[in-house]
Symmetry: C2
Subunit: 452 residues, 2 copies
């Protein structure tokens, strides 16, 4: 009999899971344990190829900024962005995707404050090297060069507001409709003089003035539900109304979607009701261009729905890491870490490995299965290519930390009878299955998780 | 009897299609007609929401740069990027996706030449405003600020070379393997002082020195085949070996993939055999870190495979536009433009419209079908929402210009017998089909086109 102590380290909801031979218990977490949790989480992200190594890079990630992602992190964020896109463009509402430039030469309403501009080095150095210029003229010339240099976008709102007029044609001037975009935005990093990149998603929703508050509620509900759909512990995602004094300029109402990280709460997403001021400003007050069909001269109101998907990826990693402790004897303490990412988000759905048997033949079977999975768009880890000897236990531990949903073992038995072994990440139970059934089994499992 | 004259405007391969009542002929194109073709193509891209309006924006697009895309252009480029990703990561070769930052503070091997840097405006203005500084000190301070500012990436190679060492762990130090990435790169725009954005795809392939030339050939073949797979007129895509004197620094061989635009040839993609110099440079000559398992102290060679996907989108639009002329009588000349984009790339697969009948009921059927299509990930145009009266002919003309594969008409007949009308973009033939069959029909049609 084992007694296992489960720390769903980043979750506050109590739960108990009972398996045949194990009993799992949740422990309370102290301050120092929280620090441990964070260290463990970040180390796992590096060790298991979610995030590239290096202290500075990991810090970017923890701060909710874009960093250098390894293959698993890249795929996780990609899945997250895809899911966001589907949920917004297939919600039944009229939403169109757009793509705007990340830098622009026009004046922005925020003026020069904290702005980042792209400067061509050579041109600036040329100016600095002009010996005949007075200091005043030099400063002036640099100023002018700066003014002409394109500025980097800090959000995706501006681009969508600009695209409002051509898009109005698309919908025969009928409201409501939305413009969706995902892409990099740039922010000045505090103090360092460096810039920081963030992967943002944006839905800019145009509606009649009297419905804007209802739409804000609609999108808040829809978004919170979306975040919670993929969570192991949904209660860590919450929303709160922004206080009057904290409202962004031009906004009349705002709601934030928050995630409880072990180190405190952070904002994942915002929904703002912004009125018509920014739309009018960008289109230079030309009301006739902005009017919709049933508008009786009213200008559409804007509801903006934004999220930071780098922080989103971090939130789901944090939410899904379970640390399980098992005391085998007084001397020995086993630790198991499992990344229980949602089947739709998890970067690798299945790992293919070989057991004992004729290696050449077993590999051939693996190659065949690999192709079959790839064609069905099921991401596979080709574990059978690894030639270093590893115990089954080490292998499972590694795959659990990567979040791999199922591990398939092809062995002698497969050659004889077509049977293979499938181990589940979540239950750790091993099942025997026929090779002809495995693809459909995985496909159904992932689809079912998607449709809940 | 009609006589129709087909100008497959951007294709040089002659072909003849015979339908029951029409005969189609290809015409030769003169210089002035080429100008017309380009104007027609660009106008269509704007009118049909591929590219946002505005002369400057359309010019960016024509020059093969990233521009502000409308919903259809955005979706086309998205499909193109997805296809690229699948073709590279599911080729059976060991390819891992990564994501690196688009700006970086470290020194780049290209030095200061033509470099773009992100400068924080306020900081620079502060320096310029310091009255007590001499001119020399001022120039020095600005220089230093510039040196500390992060530079924008011009390609995705650098990032992948940096990720080589952590990735080597992933593959147990075994070659060959590749790192794939897609993302924005920034280039100084000639003359204007502006920067230009390009959506690049990159596969950086690491292999043993003796196989690098074979791999270059392999990836060239694989890539050319990929471009041609989606083409209406594949012969417009070609490859040629780069001459010795035009080779990039460090490269020993190079091949370019070219597209024949109406205004001349442009480079879509490049495959370079780059040796090991850049890899060694980035890792500061630390050979022990770079050695692979069967290497006997040799350093991997790098083959880089890059493409410009903004120009790629332009190439496929250009390649797929057919202009058809039909003389009904001597006075009347009908023109039909059809965007015959590949079923996998085309942004909208199907349009849903209503014919005569009880509007409320017909709309309900459309809503149901829309949901069914969206769940099957088939992109739909909700034409039934349009309330302006349009003739069937105008509607077909519009959808042909958008490239919509099939147009479905739901009418009285549908209410009575469940039958609907399906019009094909490519054949213009209208078929009657039962409503229960339509989703599978579309799904099979698109899958079949994908697997050819």
């Amino acid at each position: 009999m084992f007694v296992m102590c489960v720390r769903n380290i980043l979750s506050r909801s109590a739960f108990t899971v009972t398996l045949k031979r194990h009993s799992w218990r949740r422990c309370s977490t102290s301050q120092t344990e929280t620090v441990d949790q964070v260290t463990t989480l970040l180390q796992l992200c590096v060790d298991r190829f979610f995030v590239s190594p290096g202290h500075a890079n990991v810090e970017l990630f923890q701060r909710g900024l874009c960093c250098s992602y390894g293959p698993l992190g890249m795929e996780l964020r990609r899945n997250l962005l895809d899911q966001w896109w589907y949920s917004v463009t297939r919600s039944g509402a009229q939403v169109f995707g757009i793509n705007t430039l990340s830098s622009s030469s026009r004046e922005t309403p925020t003026g020069g404050q904290g702005q980042l501009r792209i400067v061509e080095c050579e041109q600036l150095k040329q100016r600095l090297g002009q010996k005949e210029l007075s200091k005043g003229r030099l400063a002036e010339e640099v100023h002018m060069l700066l003014q002409r240099s394109p500025s980097m976008r800090t959000n995706l709102l501006q681009g969508a507001l600009e695209q409002f007029v051509p898009s109005l044609e698309l919908v025969n001037r009928k409201l409501p409709f939305g413009l969706a975009e995902t892409g990099l935005c740039f922010q000045p990093a505090e103090g360092s003089g460096c810039s920081a990149e963030v992967t943002q998603t944006s839905l800019v929703w145009f509606c009649s003035p009297r419905t804007s508050s209802q739409w804000l509620d609609h999108w808040t509900r829809q978004r919170l539900k979306w975040w919670r759909k993929f969570a192991l512990s949904p209660s860590d995602f919450s929303s709160n109304e922004v206080q009057q004094e904290e409202l962004e300029q031009a906004a009349s109402r705002g709601v934030r979607i928050i995630y409880n990280f072990p180190w405190g709460q952070e904002v994942l997403a915002c929904v703002w009701s912004r009125g018509d001021a920014e739309l009018l400003h960008i289109h230079k007050g030309d009301r006739s261009k902005l009017q919709h069909r049933d508008g009786r001269r009213s200008i559409p109101h804007v509801v903006s729905v934004t999220a930071n998907m780098d922080r989103g990826a971090m939130a789901f990693l944090s939410n899904s890491l379970q640390q399980l402790k098992r005391e085998e004897s007084k001397q020995k303490l086993h630790q198991r870490k499992v990344l229980k990412l949602h089947p739709v988000l998890v970067p690798i759905k299945v790992a293919l490995n070989i057991g004992r048997g004729a290696t050449v033949e077993l590999r051939q079977i693996c190659e065949g299965l690999l192709q079959e999975f790839l064609e069905a768009k099921i991401s596979v880890w080709p574990g059978y290519l690894e030639t270093l000897p590893t115990s089954m236990e080490q292998l499972n531990a590694k795959y659990d930390e990567m979040g791999v949903l199922f591990t398939i073992i092809i062995g002698e038995n497969t050659l004889e009878s077509g049977l293979l072994q499938v181990r589940s990440r979540d239950t750790t139970i091993k099942e025997t299955m026929h090779i002809s059934e495995i693809k459909n089994f995985l496909f159904r499992y992932i689809s079912a998780a998607d449709n809940i």
